[in-house]
């Protein structure tokens, strides 16, 4: 889609693929990470009745830029007993894993990195690379805390993948497609056509679907929250017990890349939840472009809606983070295996029965 456009524009497939690969990074992920880091600090500060960063720029809006400047200048420390090649690859892999997800996310109806039919499957598969990166970072650091953090993280990611997949399969049974663009288009119309309100189903089936869709949404939200290692599921980076886990040994830009990957991931999982349940880039109330007769305005509005929905879920993630304490390892596993998986499974079954109606 965007790739074809750039191929026509530049006349070469290589430059087109480079441009279309870097576009979301510089236009979306980096600015988002910059804003989200500041937002996180501001939200946490105000929740705790503080002010947060106030020095750099008006109310500290340039704080993240200053932080990045600082991180770039920092010495890149590699300890003697680190496994150097793995140590250097790990942050790249973690970031690659979380950035690759953006390739299949439809930002608007006319912009999607790669409109593949197995979009959803690809996203779930490729985000597995993050686990490898984290394990690598933990192992290569040669430090017991980082290794513990990495092991916990791997255990957590693998267990929480299951409820996520269950819910994805639930959605699949209704829509019958893995293509995220088609999946979004199936929810078009007004907001009552969103998956959370039963999608395009009609009559009694729609009403029956709604409660199970809400359950599905809650389950996938919790499990994706666990997959991005955020509080209350942040035992893998637990500052107070593991000295921030797998990235303890990293400094300077490599640390910044881990940070960037975390925030990219936060948006990626929110985006997936939005695409699956909240109509992706679709507007809930119709487009201004249609009323004004300006067709080019529609994709812009769609991008705004998509960002708005995604950021709303990111904000809820932050809100949760500054509300809840960290879970213990056994509680973490209990939530996944005793609660989320059975619920997701029963949900899958019931939704399957409903779709037969």
């Amino acid at each position: 889609m965007i790739f074809d456009f750039f191929t026509k524009l530049t006349g070469s497939e290589i430059s087109a693929s480079i441009i279309s690969a870097l576009l979301p990074l510089f236009l979306f992920v980096l600015p988002f990470a910059l804003i989200a880091v500041l937002l996180e600090r501001k939200v946490s500060a105000h929740i705790q009745d503080r002010l947060g960063p106030m020095r750099v720029g008006y109310h500290g809006i340039l704080q993240t830029l200053a932080d990045i400047l600082k991180l770039i200048q920092k010495e890149d420390i590699i300890a003697d007993s680190n496994d150097k090649p793995l140590f250097n690859i790990a942050p790249v892999l973690v970031f690659a894993g979380s950035y690759a997800v953006f390739a299949a996310i439809p930002f608007t109806s006319s912009y999607i990195g790669s409109n593949i039919n197995l979009g959803l499957f690809y996203i779930i598969g490729i985000s597995g690379i993050v686990v490898i990166g984290i394990l690598m970072a933990g192992w290569a650091s040669n430090n017991k805390y980082t290794l513990l953090g990495a092991m916990r993280s791997a255990a957590q990611l693998i267990s929480y993948e299951i409820p996520t997949l269950m819910i994805v399969v639930t959605i699949l049974m209704i829509t019958g497609t893995l293509n995220l663009n088609e999946l979004t288009e199936m929810q078009s119309g007004f907001f009552w056509n969103w998956m959370i309100f039963g999608g395009q189903a009609t009559g009694i089936a729609k009403i029956l679907l709604i409660p199970f869709m809400i359950v599905g949404f809650v389950v996938i939200y919790i499990s994706t929250l666990a997959e991005v290692n955020r509080t209350p599921f942040d035992i893998s980076e637990a500052e107070s017990e593991l000295v921030s886990g797998y990235h303890t040994e990293y400094s300077g830009m490599k640390f910044a890349i881990f940070f960037l990957a975390e925030y990219a991931n936060m948006f990626a999982v929110s985006a997936i939840v939005v695409v699956l349940f909240f109509g992706g880039y679709l507007s809930p109330i119709g487009y201004l472009g249609n009323t004004l007769g300006l067709p080019w305005l529609i994709p812009v509005e769609q991008l705004l809606w998509f960002t708005f929905k995604g950021v709303a879920f990111v904000l809820v993630q932050m809100w949760l983070r500054w509300t809840l304490p960290r879970l213990r390892v056994d509680q973490l596993m209990a939530i996944c295996w005793k609660y989320l998986i059975p619920i997701a499974f029963v949900n899958l079954l019931i939704v399957g029965l409903i779709t037969l109606i």
């Binding site: 939200v43 929740i47 009745d49 503080r50 002010l51 809100w319 500054w322 509300t323 809840l324 609660y339």
Partner: protein, 186 residues
Amino acid sequence: MKEYFNNIYLAFSTIFIGMMVTFKHLFVPAVTIQYPNVKPQLPSRERNRLYVNMDDCIGCDQCARACPVNCIEIETVKSIPGEDLGQTTNGKRKALWVTKFDIDIAKCFYCELCVFPCPTDCIYMTDVYEFSEFERDNLIYDFVPLTEEERIEKKENHEKFMAEKAAQKEAELKAKESKNNSQDKK
């Protein structure tokens, strides 16, 4: 089974309550004081940096003797007749040149014991609490308003005066003795 659903219910209700609490706090005005720009209001009896109003100091050394850590050092020189040092605000006549009044504020632990014995209330606590220095020596505060030369001059004046006095006395003594001697001879 009942416990299972109860657990789920409990989890959601407690998370909901917690999130409501944090949401409310999102709109509570922050309690932060933007410190270097905005100074916090200190209690009126706070004890911070000492200040000595040298116009009123009579050099009585009471504060130095009261200090438990001996961080005040005072040296005084008597004034010579004819010099008028003026009066303190509460009407005491000043008779001593204070040639040294050093407070080593690095040693001071702000007990305020030096403040009470002062007969002229000229040593007191101020509300200044930001006086860090890079050199420790800069924390020895010299309160004497005289210049170095003036201090030496005062000391020399005094020595000269004492020497003159001593010479005078000796002369008187000699004169007396010679008088006595001459009387004896007669």
